[in-house]
Symmetry: C2
Subunit: 237 residues, 2 copies
DNA sequence: GGGAGCTTGTGATATGTTTCACGTGGCTAG
DNA sequence: CTAGCCACGTGAAACATATCACAAGCTCCC
């Protein structure tokens, strides 16, 4: 009670919370007991005010004049993000990328685990990767419903992604992380995030090109800035 | 001449341009010759006004009353993003993820190509994946300088990422795409983008948790909205 | 017990991005 | 040639997000 959770938190604030979480976890392992917003911001490439504001969307977790207790803040952020609920995840598409996802140890470390994998290729079905048996696509619905899986990773070729997505949603999946380079359509009660390598690379390409050419040759205006501008660009200190 | 390139384009506008690019490329293959901002927006999960504004940052590419010629717009967007310059890329870290990146055919299709790969593990050095020979780390500097590589992908374990990054920058790399779950420090003349699976998954986890619990139990306010809110969430139409 | 010094939490402010709404130019048909 | 419609391009308004700057609360020390 009390607190000041105000309105809704911006999407970017949530993403930053993930960074704070990770950093706090590392600090805890190092035995650090307390930290200031200033220090946490330098470790995460943010600013002190930003850190405090991000946390303020959810409550008041520090002590004035002192800072934040690492353990306690970690626990709060963990709860906010819903980590530790141990959400089981399903993977569809066990190609190069899908296999890499199965092997990715960042997920289990954060409390997420791929517990089911599916593929339409009969040559892959039956394979066991990291204790997970690859099942055929026709078992998607039953398996996901039975195991109450709400999150799924889509690592199939672009042309198959929309159909797979619809199958998953029909089976009850609420959250999708899409790796295919397509724009997926999902109903409004389903949450979608995408990892799109082409977009990232092209963004870098744009920045590089912009920095090489005056800033344009689409139009010959006076270039107003030699902007660093980068979304996640962090200057070394 | 003429045009209205105004100020600088927002980061998100550039990312959307990538989506327009991809969609336009598909349309061209289908033989579609012209398209309206309205149509393009539905295909990319954007809005008509947004599409027009995004393009307006760089010029005026359509015809009033008509729409955009697919071929011409495609060429313009391609030039804006710097695709087709055929930027060669280097990859550091040929583990599960690195191998998947080498095999990812979205890069060559967009005009980007991984031409060099490095790894610190002697057991991986010498391997040939997709015509690329894995070289040892001590050849990073010479190779990158010689081949004039400006973009690199960092797919090494978190603990090694900062050191690898510094090596790459010293060798002359200007753009980095980081896959390690850490906050990298880079000088301000270097561009950095990150693909962070934990952040994406945790963001979904947050949304899921928020939708399940009233919207919080961090603080018992009246929940002001049952917000869909998703960054890249697109309602089916 | 009181004052100095520190760091949080937060109104207010500044900045940035998206959306609206309409003027402009362009096409088609009669 | 003119009327009518269409879709772009864009100033201005609305909205969202980040930053500033300071009051409130805590600790320590004298």
């Amino acid at each position: 009670m009390s607190g000041t959770p105000r309105g809704k938190a911006p999407q970017m604030a949530i993403r930053r919370l993930s960074m704070y979480y990770r950093t706090l976890a590392a600090l805890q392992e190092q035995g650090v007991e307390s930290i200031s917003s200033e220090h946490l911001s330098t470790l995460t490439g943010s600013t002190a005010a930003q850190v405090r504001r991000d946390l303020a969307y959810f409550g008041s977790f520090g002590r004035r004049g002192v800072g934040y207790e690492v353990q306690s803040l970690l626990a709060h952020v963990q709860q906010i993000l819903g980590i530790g609920e141990g959400w089981p995840m399903a993977l569809v598409g066990v190609g190069n990328l899908g296999s890499a996802l199965l092997a990715y140890d960042g997920f289990p470390r954060q409390g997420f685990r791929i517990v089911e994998a599916f593929d339409s290729d009969p040559r892959r079905v039956g394979a066991v990767i990291r204790d997970v048996i690859v099942k055929p696509m026709d078992q998607v619905k039953d398996t996901i419903q039975e195991r109450q899986i709400f999150m799924a990773l889509v690592a199939v070729p672009a042309r198959a992604a929309q159909a797979v997505t619809e199958q998953l949603i029909e089976a009850g999946v609420r959250c999708l992380l899409n790796f295919a380079p397509v724009t997926l359509r999902v109903p409004s009660h389903v949450y979608l995030a995408s990892v799109d390598l082409s977009i990232e690379v092209e963004y870098l390409s744009y920045l590089l090109r912009e920095s090489v050419t005056g800033s344009a040759d689409f139009a010959n205006d006076a270039a107003p800035n030699g902007s660093p501008s980068g979304v996640q660009t962090v200057a070394s200190g």
